[in-house]
């Protein structure tokens, strides 16, 4: 209760303040619509919001799964050799600092801009790097005690990987996935600003803004927030299920 109450109170306070500020201050809706106006739009547009969220969610999910699978394979391969890891980590870290999302228009040219492939591909690429980087770091980071212990057991390389290296890297994998899950939704939504097929939340937001229907645009933003939150929370849930030893530690 003590953990939940402050944020809830804080959120309510912020909403009330927002409402008062907008109505009393006569703020034009194109600057900031009132929460009540946005709420009304959410109720009115719930069908459209749901459809668009489903489209964007599917793109994000496909990209997330594809990018993660690829990243896991790549990290496993790169962890086999010290040199490969030493070279690929800084390189991937640099690429991760680039605005990958700007690849969207190029991918629209390379594939049909009328299919979902470009958006999913951008999402996959964006997802790839945090998962790859975190997992590879985890795979390379083995406690010396465990290393010696497995040597005293005369354990083979494969046994070592299965019993120590892989489970030990699991927390790192989930660190990467947590970041990737919210990035996936952001990428799937924002990729639509760059053109291509326009059936997701991103396109709805831009078109509503273009028609100066600002409360409606904000309603779609709220839908995007909900989608992002869902992805993040599901990842957290998976993390707790996959690593029971961490959960017991907290309780």
């Amino acid at each position: 209760m003590r953990r939940v109450l402050p944020p809830v109170l804080f959120g309510l306070l912020a909403l009330v303040l927002w409402e008062v500020l907008v109505t009393a201050g006569r703020v034009a809706p194109f600057i900031l619509p009132a929460p009540s106006a946005i709420g009304a739009q959410i109720v009115e547009q719930r069908g459209n919001i749901g459809d668009a969220a489903l489209a964007s969610g599917a793109n994000a999910l496909v990209g997330l799964i594809g990018g993660t699978l690829l990243a896991v394979c790549a990290a496993l391969a790169a962890s086999r050799s010290t040199l490969l890891g030493d070279v690929s980590i800084p390189f991937a870290a640099v690429i991760n600092a680039l605005p990958i999302i700007a690849l969207a228009p190029i991918l629209n040219n390379m594939f049909e801009s009328t299919s979902s492939v470009p958006r999913r591909l951008v999402t996959g690429i964006v997802v790839f790097f945090p998962v790859f980087l975190n997992l590879l770091r985890g795979l390379r980071e083995v406690s010396p005690v465990h290393q010696e212990l497995m040597r005293t057991y005369a354990a083979s390389g494969w046994t070592f990987a299965r019993k120590v290296r892989l489970p030990g890297a699991l927390p790192h994998l989930f660190t990467g996935l947590r970041q990737a899950s919210s990035l996936a939704v952001i990428a799937a939504v924002v990729a639509e600003y760059f053109g291509g097929l326009q059936d997701g939340l991103g396109a709805r937001i831009t078109s509503a803004a273009a028609f100066t229907a600002y409360p409606r645009a904000w309603a779609f933003v709220a839908g995007a927030c909900l989608l992002g939150l869902t992805f993040y929370l599901v990842t957290l849930l998976l993390e707790r299920l996959a690593m029971p030893w961490k959960r017991n530690l907290i309780s």
Binding site: L107, A210, C225, L229
Partner: protein
């Protein structure tokens, strides 16, 4: 040295993959069950790398300025916006972190929202913030707002971790010196937070670049590299190499910002341990 080697090796691999796929890939791509799973390999979709380089030297339009100059100009314009957003985001992040460290109640009430702000794609707000341009602020500043929005988060979370990193014995030592909250902050917490701050700043720099590029596109701000990517991609059918020159510019901008932020920490971090900052 190692990083340089890594960069060269990675680039060489990328070039090989690109030209290699162009050599063996089907010009119309590979379609499985009606879905194109491999991209088109024709010159229109994937121009040769040397074509792109040659395009950099050529004029933007007949008789216009050379493309490389235009791209560089756009990069500098976006760099300015990124810097403004980065600075604003960093200041906001530092203030938030300090406030959260000082008052438990602020941390408990605010931190969930700070984390929430990044798990939800509020960048989606970009087209709406565009409305502020020209009334509340000049149009370029709306892009800086978006960049700042993305940049403040790693700083706030990383700095909070850093400010909370001193051990209880360190805090008690300061207490035994009768040092107040402010002196403890300056003498103990800030120095202890530096190893956390700099990795956070690097994340913030990268986030500010993404924010600036996306922001330019969705607010329709002219003059920057994000806008250039969109403009050039519309000419892709007649001049396919052009959009790639803009992409190179965006990559250059990302590298430039990452390099500049890394320079910041050089004098301060020479004898310090390095920690990893996990923000989400």
């Amino acid at each position: 040295m190692r990083r340089l080697l890594a960069g060269v090796a990675g680039l060489a691999t990328a070039v090989l993959v690109w030209e290699g796929y162009k050599a063996v890939g089907a010009p119309e791509g590979t379609v499985v069950f009606g879905v194109r799973v491999l991209p088109r390999a024709d010159d229109l979709s994937m121009p040769h790398l040397w074509t792109v380089l040659r395009r950099l030297a050529g004029p933007e339009m007949t008789g216009g300025r050379p493309v490389w100059l235009v791209v560089l100009d756009a990069c500098l314009f976006t760099l300015g916006i990124t810097a403004a957003g980065f600075l604003a985001g960093t200041v906001i992040g530092l203030v938030l972190a300090t406030a959260m460290q000082r008052f438990r109640i602020v941390e408990r009430g605010l931190l969930p929202y700070v984390v929430l702000s990044q798990t939800v794609p509020l960048v989606a707000l970009a087209p709406l913030i565009a409305g502020w341009g020209g009334t509340l602020m000049p149009p370029w500043a709306t892009v800086a707002v978006i960049a700042a929005y993305l940049a403040f988060f790693p700083v706030a979370v990383g700095m909070l971790r850093g400010l909370q990193s001193p051990s209880a014995s360190g805090v008690e030592l300061m207490r035994s010196y009768a040092a107040g909250w402010w002196r403890t902050l300056v003498k103990l917490r800030f120095p202890a937070a530096l190893p956390y701050l700099f990795p956070a700043l690097r994340l913030a720099g990268a986030a500010a670049v993404v924010g600036a590029v996306v922001g330019e596109i969705s607010t329709g701000t002219r003059g920057g590299i994000g806008r250039l990517i969109i403009e050039y991609s519309r000419e892709a059918t007649s001049d396919p190499a052009k959009v790639y020159t803009a992409m190179l510019g965006a990559a250059l901008l990302g590298l430039l910002v990452a390099g500049l932020v890394s320079l910041l920490e050089l004098p301060l971090m020479r004898h310090r341990r390095h920690v990893e900052v996990v923000t989400l």
